[in-house]
Amino acid sequence: MDWLGPQEWTAVALSLKVSFWAMLASLPIGVLTAYALARWRFPGRQMLNGLVHLPLILPPVVTGYLLLMTLSPRAPLGAALEAVGIIFAFRWTGAALAAAIMGFPLMVRAIRLSIEAVDPKLEEAAATLGASRLKVFATITLPLILPGVLTGAILAFAKAMGEFGATITFVSNIPGQTQTLPSAIYAFLQVPGGEASALRLVAVSIAVAMAALALSEWLSRRVARRVGA
């Protein structure tokens, strides 16, 4: 299309990639964390719960700042990770990490809510049929919490599409590498006369997110129908 320049399209593509991977990579951890918080009693549970919520509570810039301080090549952890080939700083992977962390509390909360609504009697029944904890989880719990997992995933994806503060603070705003849609919008908004361009990007952002939403609604209707009658 004409009305977006190549750099803008790059930002759109990057945002999609970042959001998709942020969502996908955090999903298993999110499910596990939600399960642990909902079902297990262990020392440090309240701590974990607090930690999960932290990115929601803190101004995004602070989260970005903390990420920068711990994962930059100059920080011990960042250096150690870099030694084994895992680099987040100033890469799209870092943008995905920031987005994933920002969306994590939303994802975990949604999934946890679903887990708490699962009737333990069904899990008990599965156990009496010889299913191990893991099999019970995979065949009973997980399918039953699918609506929650879907909600969690779409929230994480949407958040990732809109995340700005933590991302730009952590991985900067490098076109093609870390310039996501929100960063690009920000850049336009910082210069005189950039509003029109910013609005075009906002429109793209909305369109993408609406498509994702519609997809998730459709999926969850399918899931609901399966469980329903």
Partner: protein, 354 residues
Amino acid sequence: MLEIRLQHRFEGFQLDVDLALPPGLTVLFGRSGSGKSSLIKAVAGLLAPDRGRIVLDGRVLFDDAQGLNLPPHQRGLGVIFQEGRLFPHLTVRQNLLYGARGRAPNLDRVVEMLGIGELLARRPGGLSGGEQQRVAIGRALLSGPGVILADEPLAALDEPRKAEILPYFEYLRNQSCPILYVTHSPAEVARLATHVVVLDAGQVLRQGTASEILGDPDLVPAGIRSVGAVLEVRVARHHEDGLTELDAGGVPLFLPRVASATGTMIRIRIAAQEVILSRTRPEGLSALNILPGTIDSLRAGEGPGALVALSTPAGRVLARVTRRSAETLGLAEGVECFAVVKTVAIAREDIGRG
């Protein structure tokens, strides 16, 4: 052999039992709220009792002293829950096969017996109450359990359907699969039970063989109609007119065709209120079964009735008669008389393989 010793407190309810159950089918019998389901759950591993020890054939399932509590999936049980508990996201077929680990050689047979062939592709959501219960039975049976715990499995079913499913439980019992079976139906007790445990407010009120329990006039946990005698008899002959002749200690008894082969021992139940007594051998009655005997005891019950216990060649038979008849006929201990039982009054459900 299943040993269950356990104590558990709920607010306002205390379960306290100590049982050693022989192989075969044990019926848990008792009023609503007496602790039957709780006991089942404890055996299944779904309720950790405050104190106790549960041992199945030498394998310790639970022992609070040892701090041992085997998780349900390692206990090898098949549980039929009072509330169905079908998996809503799986089809009936997937529900049935859930515990089967891919091998269910008797799937077709069980499906046919339960009459759920047409439901296989459906999900439990829209099933009728009885359909759900049947699927739940099938699911437990198909998991190939070492022990079956069945909590009122037939409560929501119509009589013909019950009649189709009961023989399967008999079959299982005779396959030496231990079964713990909760029911409120005396007919099911008499037909299925090897052993009966009567619970009352969490305590074991009585336990014993089906004939001991059902023949005990002091014990009417399920109401007056459940008193009766259970006799072990031999299948003597199958007649051409559809009757089967039984040998009850030398006395012939007639029943509608029984499926068991000639020579096998079977169990029949004669409910006390279905027996008529006569001082002389009655003639010209449509009832074919007449057992001579001597009155062992005669006790006035509550109300206008009296319970008469009779020694017959076939075993002890109970008869419930009115006190008025007892007086008129001059019934008393030691008096000889005849017990008249209508053929078909020996209910179909009350016949079990011994």
